[in-house]
């Protein structure tokens, strides 16, 4: 039985929950996997810690929350400070260089990637920051295929924004492929 647990953490409005949904939906619709996605957030529409949990498995998933992630994604300092200690030993940590300064060294493979800066520089619109993240996550984990993610985007994204989203996904995938583990 294979099982992969992820936590997507950031601030409300960054699209972390949307990114989590796209990953889980892709796994179910195009990869024949089982998935459960849940989220926790406060009452505010923007700001505050926003967190989404995803479990991918080839077996039934009963408990839907993640207590120890195999993969932790942190898009803000607050999210990093809150969750970097709960990562599974040997797990994967993806943090954004623009928003997160790494402090203690968790026992994890750490990838500190310029996701936000790349999106702003190459596309000029931070709204697809979360899609760029998905590209990097795909390249680093292979949890789903890149073309499966593209299919989900094609289904979900309005056509006039599709090109921008596909570009963000490709940029993320390149960052992931070229990335090196952060040396302690």
């Amino acid at each position: 039985m294979s099982r992969h647990r992820l936590i997507f953490a950031g601030a409300g409005g960054q699209g972390v929950i949307t990114a989590a949904i796209i990953l889980a939906e892709t796994a179910v619709h195009f990869e024949g996997q089982n998935a459960v996605q849940s989220q926790s957030y406060g009452a505010a529409a923007r700001g505050g810690i926003s967190r989404s949990d995803v479990i991918l498995s080839d077996a039934p998933i009963h408990f839907p929350k993640v207590t120890q992630p195999n993969t932790l994604i942190c898009l803000t300092q607050e999210a990093y400070n809150s969750f970097n200690t709960i990562i599974r030993p040997g797990g994967l940590l993806i943090a954004d260089t623009h928003h997160v300064t790494l402090q203690t060294r968790a026992e994890a493979r750490i990838f500190h990637l310029p996701l936000y800066d790349t999106v702003v520089q190459e596309i000029g619109n931070p709204v697809v920051f979360n899609i760029c993240l998905l590209g990097a996550l795909q390249a680093l984990t292979g949890l789903v295929r890149l073309d499966s993610l593209q299919q989900t985007l094609a289904q979900r994204v309005p056509s006039r924004y599709l090109e921008m989203n596909e570009k963000a996904l490709q940029l993320g995938a390149q960052l992931g492929e070229q990335a090196e583990v952060q040396k302690p």
């Binding site: 949904i21 459960v36 996605q37 408990f63 839907p64 929350k65």
Partner: protein, 382 residues
């Protein structure tokens, strides 16, 4: 043909199921964590020629669906604890006037406005006793989307069969969670239509004269027949009365039509109960945690089983008594200060075997929480 698999929230699952059951009228007032039900109803209903009303509050929401039901529609509203509190008077009216309707309560932390974005199971007794006076009620719940779909359809079926409001008790966890749902084909789950009177137009119709089987055929209000509807004790014409014989008969009818059919209403799932020394009893989101504990501990050879209750009211006391007969320990897993646990204690022999395994801080109860409580109960420390 391959069946369609959706990856959607529990709240949207509830909407798909309601439409499958033939819902064509929804009125509601959005409230977290139930808002997606209202949102998706607003998107879907106009496309199929149904009616969607956003009301000014929860009181008018329930009142308007009661009216719509009386005119022949299949109806529903959705809310959370604070809104469900406001609905209690109208809920009693629907009980007394025997008007079919479905109320989804997606539970959040209470009392009062409490914890809007966090899960809870604190409304089990509100569903049962929130409205005043002796009455019976049907309340259903589910822990996963496939069962939630089925239970929602069943809620509409039972509302029609027993002419009663049915409370669908969901929670923030299952309501907001996304997981795969295989959409049932048309006809795969039976859909029960309203029993309408065969009394022709121009002939006296008695809205509250039961048939021999106890059922009351309805006539679409504003259609062929004129009749009265009141929340007061009423006679077979629907007019108010203080006649002790009529009052005695009506209150017994309201109780018996549901309580005497408890065995038909009972819905549950069971896992590994045959040789279980410790029986977990749970429902809704907590049953997911309980099932996680049971399946993982079974792999280690521990004799643990789960009874997942899907029909909370009328409480399936006979079922619980039978399934717990040989249990050494009974743990009720729920996210409140103890509600179903009291019903279990009343139901079983030797109620000192019954313990509460709960969590009430807004966080979803974890397998570790349940395992720790279980270790304490077994006298092994945490």
């Amino acid at each position: 043909m391959r069946q369609r698999t959706e990856f959607i929230q529990g709240n949207e699952t509830c909407v798909r199921a309601a439409l499958y059951a033939g819902l064509d009228f929804f009125a509601g007032y959005p409230i977290t964590p139930s808002s997606e039900i209202t949102e998706h109803m607003a998107a879907h209903l106009p496309r199929i020629g149904g009616s969607f009303l956003q009301m000014e509050d929860e009181i008018s929401s329930l009142c308007s669906i009661i009216g719509a039901s009386l005119t022949g529609h299949k109806v529903m509203t959705a809310t959370s604890g604070p809104g469900f509190s406001l609905m209690q008077e109208a809920l009693g009216f629907a009980v007394m006037t025997e008007i079919p309707c479905v109320i989804a309560d997606v539970q959040r932390g209470g009392p009062s406005t409490g914890l809007p974005t966090h899960g809870s199971q604190g409304d089990v007794y509100q569903a049962r006793w929130g409205t005043q006076g002796d009455h019976a009620i049907i309340s259903l719940t589910a822990s996963n989307h496939q069962d939630l779909f089925a239970m929602t359809v069943e809620a509409f079926n039972m509302a029609e069969t027993f002419r009663t409001p049915v409370v669908l008790l969901l929670d923030e966890i299952t309501g907001h969670m996304r997981e795969p749902l295989t959409l049932p084909r048309e006809g795969e789950i039976p859909v029960i239509e309203r029993l309408r009177t065969s009394v022709p137009e121009g002939v006296d119709y008695h809205p509250y004269l039961p048939r021999e089987d106890g059922r009351l055929p309805m006539s679409d209000f504003g259609g062929k027949h004129r009749y009265n509807v009141t929340g007061l004790y009423h006679d077979m014409w629907g007019f108010p009365t203080t006649d002790p014989k009529v009052i005695h008969g009506l209150i017994h009818h309201l109780m018996d039509k549901i309580e005497n059919h408890a065995h038909e209403i009972t819905r549950y799932r069971e896992y590994y109960l045959d040789d279980a020394h410790t029986v977990l009893i749970s429902y809704g989101c907590s049953a997911r945690t309980a099932l996680h504990v049971v399946t993982s501990r079974r792999r280690r050879g521990e004799k643990l089983g789960l009874l997942e209750i899907q029909s909370l009211w009328p409480f399936p006391a006979e079922l619980v008594r039978a399934k717990c007969e040989h249990a050494h320990y009974i743990l009720v897993v729920e996210m409140n200060m103890g509600q179903v646990v009291h019903e279990v204690k009343k139901a079983v022999q030797d109620p000192e075997r019954v313990y509460l395994a709960n969590r009430v801080d807004g966080e979803f109860i974890t397998p570790t929480d349940v395992r720790n409580i279980m270790r304490l109960v077994h006298g092994r420390g945490v």
